[in-house]
Amino acid sequence: MVTTMSFAQDRTVSGKVTSSEDGSTLPGVNVVVKGTTNGGVTDIDGNYKITVPEDGGTLLFSFIGLESQEVEIGTRSIIDLQMSSDIQQLSEVVVVGYRSVKKSNLTSAISTVDGAELQSVPIGGIDNLLQGKSPGVQVVAQNGEPGSQAYIRVRGVGSVNASNEPLFIVDGVQLNATQYNAINPNDIKEMSVLKDAASTSIYGARASNGVILVTTKRGSETSKPQITYKFQYGMKQMIPNNFEMMNKEQKLDYEVEIGIRTADEADAIRNSLANPETDWFDVLLQNGIVQSHDLSFGGSSETARYFFSLGTYDEEGISVGSNFKRVTARANAEFDLTEFLTFGNNLTVTNSKSNLTRDRNNVQNPFRAIYDYNPYEPEFQLDDQGDFILDADGEKQYNLTRNGFSIGEALLNNPEEERYTNLIGNVFLTAKPIKGLNLKTTYGYNYRIREAEYYNQPGSVLDGYVGDTNAPGSKSDDFDSRFQFNWTNTAAYNFVPVAGHTIDVLIGTEYYKTDIRTVDVNSKGFPSKKFTTQDNASEVTLGSTTRDEWSLWSMFGMVSYNLNEKYFATASLRRDGSSRFGANNKFGMFWSASGGWNMHEESFLSDISQISQLKIRASIGTSGNEPNQLYASRGFYGFGSYNNQTSSDPTQLENKDLKWEENFNYSIGIDFGVLDNRVSGSVDYYNKNTRDLLFDAPLSSTTGWDSRLENIGEIVNSGIELELAWDVLRGKDYNIRLLGSAATNDNEVLNLDNDEQDIINDDSGLTVLREGQKVNTFYLVQYAGVNPANGEELFYDKDGNVTNVWNGDDAIAMEGKSPIPTYFGNFGLDASWKGIKLGLNFYYQGGNYTMNWAFNQGQLQDGASGSRNNQRVDAFDYWKKPGDTGVLPAPSLTNNVVDTDRYLQRADFIRLRNVNLSYTLPKAIIEKAWLQDVVFFVQGTNLWTFNKYFDGDPEVGRGSDESDLTEMGEVTLYTYPNTRGFTAGVNITF
């Protein structure tokens, strides 16, 4: 296929293009006369024929993945050429929606994370590994539990009630957030984060929070099999707090001062051998251990490419009874059945097992107990002589403490375990029947089994509280399976109607169906704690099954145009129908348009040698966000029981108009590189407008309803993203590169369609949605300090007058103060000298506020009932005599701990997220041992934190799962603390 254009005076040049590696012919290579639109492509045998001006000129040969070449024609009429692969360009092919694009041809805001950056870090989930890796993507750990999830926010918070998590797709298969830790990070080749309309819109009604595409490794192109082994081992600890808890002496003094204990009683405890000083942090916490092994094989033959891996990841938590163990296996293989037909699969099977601590707001959670238990309360019961009081079996007896519960005992006797089996992958068939046409059909599957066991052992303290003395011990087993499949079909056609004009067209269909089933069985009455399965129980107390479904049916198309690698335009359209939408809004249509201009290709810039790259991009379009609830549009009567007979009652209000949240989004960006790309980077401005927000519109409780899910309101997020890399030194043996990113986010509720009424957060009651304010602006009564005359806590009422009466009605919206950061980013350093490499990465965020319930309110109770638990040392800093100011209120048992902005703290921080120091053995040494590569490394995570304002760890994810306080950064309660870790390891390639 040769296309030609005629010139007034022209002649013909022809030739053959071959590969410099193996001499094979190269079809499809672009051949253009430089500075003109005149050109063609090589045929199947690598031959081309092109008309050139009589006076010659320059021929430009280009092909994706090969290094472009310019050849002076001179007077020649036959020009054969060898082209070599361009390593740099190969890595610059970016996976975008349903296709790949050369990075320099992108018209949208996409950032990529190389898999190598995610590997050998002692963190279980790929979501947490993304922190500080991608500009504009905020990642905050939900908590520090081994294998736990992170909150990921792409370009701000655009939803209140539906998900704010990006659509996560691995090899074309949508993942659920609980599966982020099911993917072995070592298997990842690359992650693409799609941020703007142009890139996300083709994912339609699921894409408004951005899309993260994960591509796993293929067989290496070299035919020689490559075997890699990776190992690391290390430890983890709770990140130390920046405040001090009371010791025994202090706590007893405090109790006497605030009047909950007489001086005599305190002295008795002080001198009692039965009440030695106890450091509950030491008793309940331990050093966590992380250990991972990873073995992989990759390679290719003429007609097949393969990658297999086996990995284990074990993390022992920082509390007894918490751990995460995972085994992953992967098989990715591709076979060329014929020259134009390829068949393959990507498959991962993962088993994980974790022991869990309860994330609840009382001492049944060890991370609350470490703060609450008093330092004069021993772990085990002691007699007057300080000797252990033993039970009939000669065992030490746990001290229940004044909280009536020993978590140390419960962690042993009330074990909770969760196991996941994940089967994630696809099989696909691609056909290239004619040149430029690529047909692909993919069947993706994602099967997740969750098994959870909770055993309240007979004889345990908790069983004594909640169990049946006649049928001791209780066990619950939950089993759920979630099967999701998708069938995706695409047809892509690439053609060059006129030399220099490249057009790509893509059309496709996609069908998703998910089937979720649960089985729960509870029993009681166990012969002994040795028997843990329910066939040993005397009575089944609960047995239930549930089933839910979800389906999505989509059609989509995309067309893109490329003029001489200089001007680019792309448009896309997607129509999504979802079972979750209301009858009146069953289908949503989403569109995008974008353009790009490689300015450095223009003659007026190409002469400026300092500019190596300059590109302008702009995009506009829409995407959507489905409701979380599967049947939210329907009005239902559900079933229950009364007197062991069927009962029914209204469970949901109908809303036939219910639909997706619609995101309208535009952005503009510049990519640049100067001085031979020594300094390179990009700047983006974005504006994301989310309309038809899914909202639990509050209803008067007198109606018998609290709320109904509706599409109301509008939120806008805008900001600037900046990414910069500077190669300070480039040398043969040494390199120093500085890199950094910054993103700002300005967030505002534009409209609530709710008669300008405030919408107060249901779960916490602490934040409000109000037009003109940020999403989840804190809504609190203002603290007015302490009355210097009598030490009373004072507040401001609605009218700004000082009062000693707290009234919820006096709460005001704290302008600009919300849990959403206004800026965040990372900065770091990559340095190498011969085989030694040092990598540093800092993550920072700020401008956000957190209600510090745990450490500011929980452990500074001003003498209220919670003061019977241990308190912070600063609790002594209270009003003592008339005239005292700037102090805590005078403590009293009748004090009411009420929510005020006294506990609201700014949570800015900079954290040294990762330090990695590695040494690569010289090739000369290892080659003798038949090794390709040997790297030793030591690594630290979360080693240092700068935190100016906040008491406790400022990286706040969720507050408390069991209290439904899971809004990112809203409140602190006693969820599993974040950890710092130190590991060492080795990576060997054979």
Partner: protein, 475 residues
């Protein structure tokens, strides 16, 4: 070969086009609301659904049995408990500490009755329809009455502009009602009670309302609103409609609390082992170290339970954390159930007799009043001999017996409130001998005039409903 592939791929594309109709997915556990009231079974199920919501932990499932006793003089907080509900006990009330979930729980029951009433004409006329409608009216009245007792003044102490509650008779979820006056509220409650009388069945079992239970609730209503004559009439009607006898005998009495007998119980909310609502957890939980109480009886009150009183079996004196307490074990456990899972007794025959006794005494029928009082007392004390009281002594004896008999069943605050009496705690400590930690001096009394007898309207409701007016106790 190529042809085959084209056919395969085309079939793929075409095949999935039919997926469009796979977007209509029905849930596996619910009926479309529009189809919920078609058959007799539907109505039966919906009515049971209304009863089921009485089990809510914020209603008869717990708090309703604790708070009226904890906010008055029957209970004091235990220094070795978890200090649950302490703010109520300390009268630290505001919109966020407002017995706030009870508001929602009662209106949940009301919505469920309103759905039945709205759709009732889908049923054929006859006894079945009448009984369903009668029970729905009765439940709707009862839930509103419970709300009115918590949030509004009794009508006899209310001014014309004092606010009652919102009386809800529809199912419009967008409704943003204002409060009716106290007078309007109580008139509407009575209208529903009265509407139920000719409709409701005679014998629906103690887990459901029937005519006797309805009349007993009406008697409670009339006594509460100071209408002694009607209280007597309604009590008479209740007793006349009785299907399971009158006051439980002294030998049956302990079995009531283990759900081993229904004698003496007119209406109770059934709480099966499957429901497993821990009603008594608001009072205490037992642990390997003994019973851990949240609240214990005020020592002066406890001391009025004589040794010969069968009701002294409601208490266990035992140690927890090294101190001795008098624990209320009325709801501790029934055999074969998890702790604190017991049926929720809403109204018992002894209350009807004590109501009629009080109404008769107030209307100078001392002989009748004494007979009613003794009908209860004779079944509570071993070796009982009537005191033969009259006049003021009789009235005092009736009040004492009422306080003893209905203790820890959520009556005390309302009994003080309807009589315009203050709360006076005895200034004893929480230990079993009256020593221990005493109530804070500031909460020993609450004058009868205090606005805190009317709980604050929950802040959530104030936020969601611009037409809702606060109570003075909202602050």
């Amino acid at each position: 070969m190529k042809k085959l592939i084209y056919i395969f791929l085309l079939a793929g594309f075409m095949g999935v086009v039919s997926c469009e109709d796979k977007l209509e997915l029905e849930p596996f556990d619910a009926l479309d609301a529009a189809q919920a009231f078609e058959t007799n079974t539907d109505f039966n199920n919906a009515l049971k659904g209304a009863y089921a919501f009485l089990r809510d932990g914020n209603y008869y499932g717990g708090e309703f049995y604790l708070l009226p006793d904890a906010i008055s003089d029957n209970l004091i907080i235990s220094s070795e408990g978890r200090f649950s509900y302490q703010d109520y006990y300390l009268f630290n009330l505001n919109g966020n500490i407002a017995w706030f979930q009870f508001w929602r729980a009662a209106y949940d029951v009301i919505l469920r009755t309103n759905h039945i009433i709205e759709n009732i004409d889908n049923l054929a006329d006859g006894d079945f329809k009448d009984d369903i409608l009668g029970q729905a009216y009765a439940l709707r009245a009862m839930a509103h009455f419970d709300l009115a007792r918590v949030y509004s003044k009794p009508p006899q102490f209310a001014g014309g502009s004092d606010l009652g509650i919102a009386y809800i008779t529809g199912t419009d979820a967008a409704n943003l009602p204002a409060r009716s006056t106290v007078g309007e509220t109580f008139t509407a409650i009575l209208a529903d009670f009265d509407a139920a009388v000719p409709l409701i069945g005679d014998d629906n079992g103690t887990g459901y309302l029937n005519l006797a239970a309805l009349q007993a609730l009406r008697a409670r209503y009339f006594l509460y609103t100071g209408n002694n004559a009607s209280a007597i009439t309604a009590s008479d009607a209740a007793i006349a409609a009785s299907v399971n006898g009158g006051v439980s005998t002294i030998s049956d009495f302990p079995d009531i609390w283990d759900d081993l007998t229904e004698n003496g119980v007119i209406f109770k909310v059934i709480n099966t082992n499957l429901d497993d609502v821990g009603v008594g957890v608001v009072y205490n939980q037992s642990s390997p170290d003994g019973i851990r109480s949240e609240y214990v009886p005020d020592f002066a009150f406890y001391s009025q339970f004589q040794a010969t009183d069968v009701r002294s079996t409601w208490f266990e004196t035992s140690d927890f954390a090294g101190s001795s307490f008098n624990h209320v074990i009325k709801y501790l456990q029934r055999p074969g159930s998890n702790q604190a899972t017991v049926d929720m007794k809403v109204i018992r025959w002894s209350e009807v007799y004590l109501t009629r006794a009080e109404a008769r005494a107030e209307t100078s029928n001392d002989a009748g009043a004494l007979a009613d009082l003794d009908a209860v007392r004779s079944q509570r004390y071993t070796g009982f001999v009537s005191g033969g009281e009259s006049g003021a002594a009789l009235k005092a004896a009736i009040q004492l017996e009422r306080r003893l008999e209905l203790a820890f069943e959520g009556h005390r605050m309302f009994d003080l409130k309807r009589q315009g009496l203050p709360i006076n705690r005895s200034n004893n400590g929480d230990y079993s001998d009256g020593t221990g930690i005493k109530p804070d001096p500031s909460v020993l009394t609450l004058p009868a005039s205090s606005p805190k007898f009317q709980m604050p309207i929950p802040q959530d409701e104030m936020n969601a409903n611009p037409n809702m007016q606060p109570n003075p106790s909202n602050g």
